[in-house]
Amino acid sequence: MTHVKPESPQTPLTPGTAPSEAPKKHAHPSYIGIWVLLAVLTAVELSVAFLPWHKNVIILILVGLAFWKAALVGLYYMHLRYEPTRLRILAIAPLPLIAVLVCAVITEWIW
């Protein structure tokens, strides 16, 4: 006689998988506030780009602002801040490539 296992209760297929693994519920961050911050940072970028400062200083500030904006989008709009650690690791795994390419560019420039 075959032993039929009782069906496990069907987990609802919701964004977030099984309850034990689902990301913890969190209050929505202020999406409009982040949008305002992104717009302000863009306005600052536009102002800084035409300042009569040393070119390298302007590049450093602009790249810093761009990474700040990118981090805001990634952490809050893509919800990486609230995702499981393993997914966050997956998301940032390709980033070391950037370091490799920056090193390649620097050596190309110097040599």
Partner: protein, 206 residues
């Protein structure tokens, strides 16, 4: 009895040796999108890296910001893309909170603003080409059109997918408990916005 033994044997074989893991702890479509975005990061990193190498090697080929490229038009386009990101995330938040009607209109707004971005980019290209700034103009032109063209292609694909998701939303295919399509297209859309944030700085402002 023999049948029962065979069935039992098969059942034993079918059992995984260890308890199943759920990988990254998210549903498959979302994991698939993140893996795809990982490959996209590598694609755009290679593109940007090549651009930087060429630019460092031939600094004289590039004009200062605003001389050839139309910064005000592109700034408007950047603002449009930022707006589309907030409408997208509001659509997802509305779906999570069960405000499905709001979700539909946020999605529609995202698709319209995304299409506007593509339209403004077409306007920008037309004017640049009229001024003689064409892809074969030199290394400046070829790298500019390659970078912005690939990004524009991604936005166009995003708008097509967004239209599909919006239609599904208006047909009532998403619920508060199952709105995977909205989240997955949202991840792609925010990624495209994120890439533009970097491109706008590197290609237009530096």
């Amino acid at each position: 009895m023999a049948h029962a033994a065979v069935a039992h044997g098969i059942e034993d074989v079918m059992q995984p040796p260890v308890e199943r893991e759920s990988g990254a702890g998210v549903y498959n479509e979302k994991l698939g999108m993140w893996v795809f975005l990982g490959s996209e990061v590598m694609f755009f990193t290679a593109l940007i890296g090549s651009y930087l190498i060429l630019r460092f090697a031939h600094p004289e080929a590039w004009k200062p910001p605003g001389v050839v490229l139309n910064i005000p038009v592109t700034a408007v386009n950047t603002f449009l893309l930022i707006c589309s990101s907030v409408t997208m995330v509001k659509a997802f938040a509305a779906a999570q909170d069960g405000f499905l009607n709001h979700m539909k209109y946020w999605l529609l707004a995202t698709a319209i603003i995304g299409a506007s971005f593509v339209g403004v980019q077409g306007y920008e290209y037309t004017h640049l080409i009229e001024k003689g700034f064409i892809p074969s103009e030199g290394i400046y032109g070829s790298t500019f059109y390659t970078m912005t063209g690939f990004h524009g292609f991604h936005v166009t694909v995003g708008v097509i997918c967004m239209t599909f998701v919006t239609i599904k939303a208006f047909l009532g295919k998403y619920t508060q408990t199952d709105h995977r399509g909205v989240e997955v297209i949202g991840l792609y859309w925010h990624f495209v916005d994120l890439v533009w944030i970097i491109l706008f700085t590197i290609v237009y402002l530096i």
